[in-house]
C-alpha cells in the first residue's frame, strides 16, 4: 500500500468504517510482530499479545494521527516501542541462556553457531542500542524515522547503531 492508500484507509476508519482497519492490520502485522519480538527477546507469544494491544490502541487513537508530523508506520512503531518497553518492565527477568530458539533461515549450516552467538549478543545489548539496531538494521527505517520513534537526534541514533554493530561483530570474533 502506498502512503496515499494508507491515508485513505485511515480516513475511512475515522469516518466510521471500522472494518477498513483490517487492511492496516494486514499490511503492518508482520513488521510489527518482528520488531516487537526482537525487543522482547524473541518471545513470540508475548510479542503477539503486545502487537495486538498496539493495533487496538492505534485504532482507538487513530484520530490523533497527524500525517504532517510523521508517517503512519512511524506513529505505529512509536506506540509499539512504548508497549514493548512496558511489557519488558512487567516481565520477570529471563535467563539469556533460555532464549527461545528462533526459526532462522541459515543459508550455511556452518553459520548456525555464529547466528546463535549473535542472537545472544543482540539481547545483551543495552536496550537503547538494541532498539536502535532493530529499527535501522532489521526494520530498514531511516535514521531520521528511528530517531523520531526514539525521541532522540539522528546523530545519537547513528552512534547507537554503530556501537551496537561493533559489539555484535566482537561476538562473532570471539566465537
Amino acid at each position: 500500500m502506498t502512503e496515499e492508500e494508507i491515508f485513505r484507509v485511515i480516513r475511512r476508519v475515522v469516518d466510521g468504517e471500522v472494518e477498513a482497519f483490517e487492511q492496516l492490520v494486514l499490511h503492518y502485522q508482520d513488521r510489527l510482530l518482528r520488531m516487537i519480538a526482537t525487543l522482547l527477546y524473541d518471545e513470540r507469544r508475548l510479542a503477539e499479545d503486545v502487537a495486538q494491544t498496539v493495533f487496538i490502541e492505534a485504532f482507538r487513537r487513530l484520530e490523533d494521527f497527524d500525517p504532517a508530523r510523521s508517517r503512519f508506520s512511524t506513529w505505529l512503531f512509536m506506540i509499539a516501542r512504548s508497549r514493548a518497553i512496558n511489557a519488558m518492565k512487567k516481565k520477570s527477568p529471563i535467563l539469556l541462556a533460555e532464549l527461545p530458539e528462533r526459526e532462522a533461515h541459515v543459508p550455511d549450516p556452518g553459520h548456525r553457531e555464529d547466528f546463535e552467538a549473535l542472537d545472544l549478543a543482540l539481547h545483551k545489548l543495552p536496550e537503547k542500542q538494541k532498539r536502535a539496531i532493530t529499527l535501522v538494521a532489521f526494520e530498514g527505517l531511516s535514521y531520521a524515522e528511528a530517531a523520531q520513534i526514539e525521541f532522540t537526534t539522528v546523530g545519537t541514533m547513528k552512534s547507537r547503531v554503530s556501537r551496537a554493530r561493533e559489539f555484535l561483530k566482537t561476538s562473532i570474533n570471539r566465537n
Binding site: V18, E19, F21, E22, V25, L26, Q29, D30, R31, L32, L33, R34, A37, T38, R44, E48, A51, Q52, F55, I56, F59, R60, A104, H105, V106, P107, H111, D114, F115, L118, A137, F138, G140, R165, L168, K169, I172, N173
Partner: protein
C-alpha cells in the same frame, strides 16, 4: 573491502529480516468490534422549565410594568 565479520553480520541481519508471519487480524478486529470507541453525541439539554406557571410570570411582569408607568406619570405631572 568488508571484513568477514561484517559479512557474517550482514548475513545474520538478513536472516533476522525474514518476516515472521503473523495472523493478528482476526483477534484485533474481534476486540475492536466488541468494544467500539465511545461515540460522543451532542447532548441535547432540555429547555429549563420555570417553577411557576408561565401565565403567572407574565402577569407579574405586566403589573410591574404598569406600576412603573404609573409612577413615572405621577412624578411627571
Amino acid at each position: 573491502m568488508p571484513t568477514s565479520s561484517e559479512q557474517d553480520l550482514e548475513t545474520w541481519i538478513a536472516s533476522r529480516q525474514q518476516t515472521l508471519s503473523a495472523d493478528l487480524s482476526s483477534a484485533v478486529m474481534e476486540a475492536i468490534r466488541d468494544k467500539p470507541p465511545t461515540i460522543t453525541e451532542p447532548i441535547t439539554r432540555p429547555i429549563p422549565q420555570s417553577k411557576s406557571p408561565s401565565w403567572l410570570v407574565a402577569s407579574g411582569c405586566l403589573f410591574a410594568g404598569v406600576g412603573k408607568l404609573s409612577l413615572v406619570f405621577h412624578l411627571a405631572f
